[in-house]
């Protein structure tokens, strides 16, 4: 049992009740006085030069308050890095995908705004589009961005040396190619933004975000106003999954319309806009060449990945590395050479989805299973032979301080009965496993650290100010739990002010799985500093040494003789009456290698902690229809320390749904000439609750030396390994290793038939 009062306990989230009662307000629910409706005009052409953009007629109808085009943006461009600034918020010269922003409108109501959109006359010169990344590299038609030859946006090369030498030593080498199409987030909340310029000409903005400070900086740049004048406000967020982290052109357009009209403006995306005009996950074609010794240990690996990046860079450099990085964290390799290419196409923009790039869709685990089968090694053994161990360095030189990957494998195997079942199940009944690792943080430069403030009110309750944002995973609750634990208060005594750029200090955001590790740590330190101040005062009153004190349940007491105690409220009052501050701050900056860069120097300490996960899934395949029934899923992750097992279970379950059930079985997009044919929840096959299998969640605690209470990233390793486990289980059930994801019934049936034809009974 832990010595904690609140941490580590199954506590319902502080935000749950309002959400299930329908009382929570999201951006689209906001209504400000005199607010206008904003709409965005988008290109219906995949690749077209904008010859003329005439807004005269659109401005005419009564009720149309403002129409903006690229002429009004002063040419500002967005890109995560200085070298990837390739996206204008409103296009001036050409449109590069169906959905590219070409104008914005603000009107008194939606009907008028839609009418104005129809009246904007954009004359286009249609250019030949390209939708296939492999074709895009060889096409002789006009480049999507003239500065990028062969439409290659990013090339990442990682080479640890000794690769060819180690291949020469290998006992067995195989090369396989895996194909995975793009995927979409389908956050419950379609994107929305409300913006206004207040009486002091400050921009006030509400929108789902992955970190308010990550939104305020580009807005400050774009409008050329100081950071303190960009007030990104807190608002409930209905899911992000990486799709809310970057600035969205709608944020800029909404703010621009608000500036022009002097009135608040709200833009609400349709579900279709949310699908095509936010971000998507990259489509990938990955080839792994792997050489192993007789025992199955990987001596050398060469991986080449072609990623369909869509029309703009987005977080391209990161995405181009991560399919490789997540695998190098999970598995040891003697040596490795990686070449990742991110290629522009005339399709929607690809960014991060859950993680950057999609290592789980790169097929590495499938290949490990293939190698294991060839060497007659059990899949469990194969993983244990190659699994990451604590105290090692990854291939790109990150030290792994805590790692219980083997324990996740052992526990998942034991719980699922994998060893008894694997190879012993009836035909079309299969079991498979996946293992993966996710980083807790990235080098994020000046916004890599988080700072928190705590102020005590005279009634003994505390206000915590933290930049940490909650976009669904329970970060608000995490911050409250940590503050209550450290201050000796109850969760209901904590008032949280968070995710607001005016009142909270810089924070990396809910980005790179770092909220608890960095933001939570900052709150913990602030609370400890605050507690120390209270202890100093309490010690004088109780006539003991501060070091003998502890705080719990609204009381400060002597650890060894708890009956000697004083209410915290009283200590606060005594402090204030004695001219003593009861407020404190705390900050945490992860020690990462700031010289590490995604393209130019992909070596060095990436982050302070890595999580490790194993998922095992058992399935039945209907040989007549190719349809998959998932019997059960077992998910085990090294989370460092489970701060709130109740919340974590929810995260694990969501991860199985998104990574496995949806991501590996049914979700993909259909296209026609760059038009997305299934942008809605009816046609994009997200998993339904009634189709989900029973899920066993196992939390493995390695107690990370740097993480708050030992905690690190939680559940992302499940989303990733779940995808791999689903693929492995289906492959095991039908006796064919599947190399084209997702595993839709048509592909499964075709594989079964092809196998039957090859080996007649």
């Amino acid at each position: 049992m832990s010595e904690y009062a609140i941490i580590g306990k199954r506590m319902p989230r502080v935000d749950s009740r309002a959400k299930v009662m329908g009382k929570t307000k999201f951006t689209a629910d906001l209504n400000l006085p005199n607010m206008l409706v904003g709409k965005i005009k988008r290109s219906p052409h995949a690749h077209a030069r904008i010859i003329h953009n005439d807004t005269t007629k659109a401005k005419a109808p009564p009720g149309v308050m403002s129409v903006v085009t690229g002429k009004d943006t002063a040419g500002v461009k967005w890109g995560v890095f200085a070298y990837t600034r390739d996206q204008q918020f409103i296009q001036t010269d050409k449109a590069r995908y169906i959905g590219d922003e070409v104008a914005g409108v603000a009107a008194i109501d939606e009907e008028t705004a839609l009418k104005a959109l129809d009246l904007i006359e954009v004359e286009y010169e249609i250019l030949p589009p390209v939708f296939d990344p492999m074709e895009a590299m060889t096409m002789e038609t006009e480049l999507i961005h003239t500065e990028f030859p062969n439409n290659i946006n990013i090339h990442v090369n990682i080479d640890t040396g000794q690769v060819d030498e180690n291949f020469a030593k290998a006992h067995y080498i195989r090369e396989d190619t895996f194909v995975a199409p793009e995927e979409s987030y389908f956050q419950a909340e379609p994107y929305a933004v409300v913006a206004r310029f207040d009486s002091e000409d400050c921009l006030e903005i509400w929108c789902p975000n992955g970190g308010p400070h990550m939104k305020s900086k580009p807005l400050s740049n774009a409008f050329k106003i100081p950071l303190h004048r960009v007030k990104v406000r807190k608002i409930a967020i209905g899911g992000a999954f990486g799709g809310r982290s970057e600035i969205c052109p709608a944020d800029y357009i909404c703010a621009l319309l608000a500036k022009k009209t002097g009135r608040p403006v709200k833009i609400k995306f349709t579900r279709e806009e949310n699908t095509i005009a936010t971000r998507q996950g990259h489509a990938m074609i990955t080839t792994h060449r792997t050489g192993v010794d007789q025992e199955g240990r990987v001596l050398a690996r060469e991986t080449t990945c072609y990623m369909d990046g869509g029309a703009y860079s987005s977080t391209g450099p990161i995405a181009t590395s991560v399919p490789f990085l997540s695998m190098e964290q999970a598995y040891r390799m003697g040596s490795v050479r990686y070449n990742g290419y991110r290629i522009y196409t005339n399709k929607p923009i690809r960014g991060m989805i859950r993680v950057h790039g999609r290592g789980f869709a790169a097929g590495l685990d499938t290949q490990l299973d293939m190698i294991a089968a060839h060497l007659n090694i059990d899949p469990v053994e194969m993983r244990l032979k190659n699994s990451r161990q604590q105290g090692e360095y990854t291939s790109t030189k990150s030290f792994v301080a805590s790692c219980a990957m083997d324990e996740t494998i052992h526990k998942a195997v034991a719980k699922s009965g994998f060893s008894e079942k694997f190879g012993n199940l009836p035909p079309f009944h299969g079991i498979g496993m996946g293992t993966n690792s996710v980083q807790t943080g990235f080098p994020m430069g000046i916004r890599g650290g988080s700072q928190a403030f705590i102020k005590f009110n005279e009634d003994g309750e505390a206000t915590v100010m933290s930049g940490v944002v909650d976009n669904g995973q329970g970060n608000d609750n995490m911050v409250v739990q940590i503050a209550a634990e450290e201050l000796g208060l109850l969760p209901e005594d904590i008032h949280l002010v968070s995710a607001d750029t005016e009142t909270t200090a810089s924070d990396p955001g809910s980005y790179s799985q770092v909220s608890t590790f960095v933001g939570g740590q900052a709150v913990k330190i602030a609370a400890q500093n605050c507690r120390a101040k209270l202890f100093d005062v309490a010690a004088k009153v109780l006539k003991v040494e501060p070091s003998t004190l502890a705080a719990k349940n609204r009381l400060i007491f002597v650890k060894d003789t708890p009956e000697i105690c004083i209410p915290i409220k009283k200590v606060v009052r005594i402090s204030l009456l004695n001219f003593t501050s009861v407020n404190a701050e705390g900050g945490y900056w992860p020690r990462v290698d700031m010289k590490r860069e995604w393209v130019s120097n992909p070596y060095g300490q990436m982050c302070e902690a890595f999580s490790f996960g194993t998922t095992i899934v058992e399935v039945k395949v209907n040989p007549a229809t190719g349809q998959v029934t998932v019997l059960n899923a077992t998910a085990a992750q090294d989370v460092g320390y489970a701060l709130n097992p109740l919340v974590l279970e929810g995260q694990f379950e969501g991860s199985i749904a998104m990574g496995g059930q949806g991501g590996m079985l049914t979700e993909y997009h259909e296209w026609k000439e760059g038009r997305c044919l299934n942008p809605t929840m009816l046609d994009y096959k997200l998993p339904l609750a009634c189709d989900m299998p029973p899920i066993h969640s196992i939390m493995v605690e390695s107690i990370d030396p740097k993480g708050p209470y030992g905690a690190k990233e939680a559940a992302m390793s499940i989303a990733m390994s779940a995808a791999q486990a689903y693929a492995a289980a289906v492959s095991n059930a039908i006796g064919v290793y599947m190399d084209s994801f997702p595993l839709t019934p048509d592909k499964i049936l075709a594989a079964i038939k092809a196998k039957e034809n090859k080996e007649p009974e």
């Binding site: 169906i98 279709e272 349809q627 049914t666 997305c676 339904l688 048509d746």
Partner: protein, 349 residues
């Protein structure tokens, strides 16, 4: 997405509704649940000036058995909720294909609160090049169904190839159902098989002032079954579906006297498989081989109609026609044998 402006009318009686329909004709659309209508309106696919809601017409919500004058039919009012049909013991016993089909329409909430059987029968044909937002449909020529001359689903097609994905229609056509279309001052009865026009643009032979008031299912002493396929177990429209009816011979109850096979979601209408149905005449109720052959024959016929416009792949949907027909025939055959057995046992007693 925004619902365009319209006038909402809520007649209190059937007569009132028919009056309004006669007045408004093409300007009006009937709201009998709205799961199909409202979505199309939001996408700008139709812009009715007037909506006539059947919400208050409880007189059209019923399930009863009609045994007058030697008749033996199930009668279902047009506005009967899907959930009530699923719950009906009569439908469950005498028309299981319809029960099964209704269970798969939309989702439980829709079945309980809004979805009606007439609405399902009259559900417009679908195509993923057509059922899209106005934005999606801009920047390219309009398709046939959208008032243009192009088909994006089948190159150079001179007609619309939209797909009828109604679960209810497929099951009901297999059950030999007919419908009553009522208008001010008159009514007509149409066999469901004649109701579907095979025209993707206007798939139903109904006038704008006619209301589908009743569905009539003859009780023919056979067994029916319905099978359908989709990626998820709710919400989805079928990728392929099959309704079958097997009527055993009275002379030799283990043999099939008449079979009806209808395949849905593969063409502009539910497809009655004449040859495949005929092939089962005189076959045993457990003739797996004959069922498989009938499935293959249905597949070959359906393949000439289907286009790639509702999901998955064409090859897969072809293969699944054979499978769904086979599964439905097997289930109906088994049920018929069981019933025959029970009847025989009763006879012995």
């Amino acid at each position: 997405m925004r619902l365009p402006r319209f006038e909402y009318l809520g007649p209190k009686t059937l007569e009132g509704a028919l009056d309004l329909m006669a007045t408004h004709r093409d300007d009006a659309k009937i709201l009998a649940g709205g799961t199909d209508l409202l979505v199309r309106m939001k996408k700008g696919l139709i812009r009715p000036k007037t909506i006539i809601s059947l919400k208050a017409l409880d007189e059209l919500a019923y399930i009863k058995r009609d045994t007058r004058e030697n008749r033996n039919n199930i009668l279902i009012g047009g506005r009967t909720l899907i959930a009530d049909i699923i719950a009906s013991d009569l439908v469950q016993r005498k028309a299981p294909a319809l029960s099964r089909a209704c269970e798969r329409i939309g989702a439980i909430t829709l079945q309980h609160f809004v979805g009606t059987l007439a609405g399902n029968i009259l559900q417009d044909n679908r195509c993923w090049h057509y059922n899209q937002s106005q934005f999606h449909r801009s920047g390219r020529g309009a398709c046939h169904k959208d008032g243009g001359k192009i088909c994006y689903a089948r190159q150079d097609s001179d007609r619309c190839n939209s797909t009828c994905q109604s679960d209810g229609a497929t099951a009901l056509m297999a059950l030999n159902a007919s419908i009553t279309l009522q208008r001010k001052g008159g009514r007509r009865r149409v066999d469901l098989a004649d109701f579907y026009t095979n025209d993707g643009i206007a798939p139903h032979a109904i006038e704008s002032h006619e209301l589908l008031t009743q569905i009539c299912i003859p009780i023919q002493g056979g067994q029916s079954a319905y099978k359908r396929l989709s990626y998820r177990s709710a919400i989805d429209y079928p990728l392929v579906c099959a309704g079958v009816l097997l009527i055993p011979s009275t002379a030799s109850p283990t043999e099939i006297s008449e079979a009806r096979i209808v395949v849905g979601a593969m063409g502009r209408s539910p497809l009655y498989m004449a040859a495949a149905s005929a092939s089962l005449g005189g076959k045993k109720l457990d003739d797996t081989d004959a069922f498989q052959k009938a499935g293959k024959a249905a597949m070959d016929t359906a393949a000439t109609f289907a286009v790639h416009n509702v999901g998955s792949t064409l090859e897969y949907r072809y293969a699944m026609v054979a499978e769904m027909v086979f599964q439905a025939l097997t289930e109906a055959g088994e049920a018929a044998r069981e019933t025959g057995q029970k009847a025989a046992n009763k006879g012995v007693q």
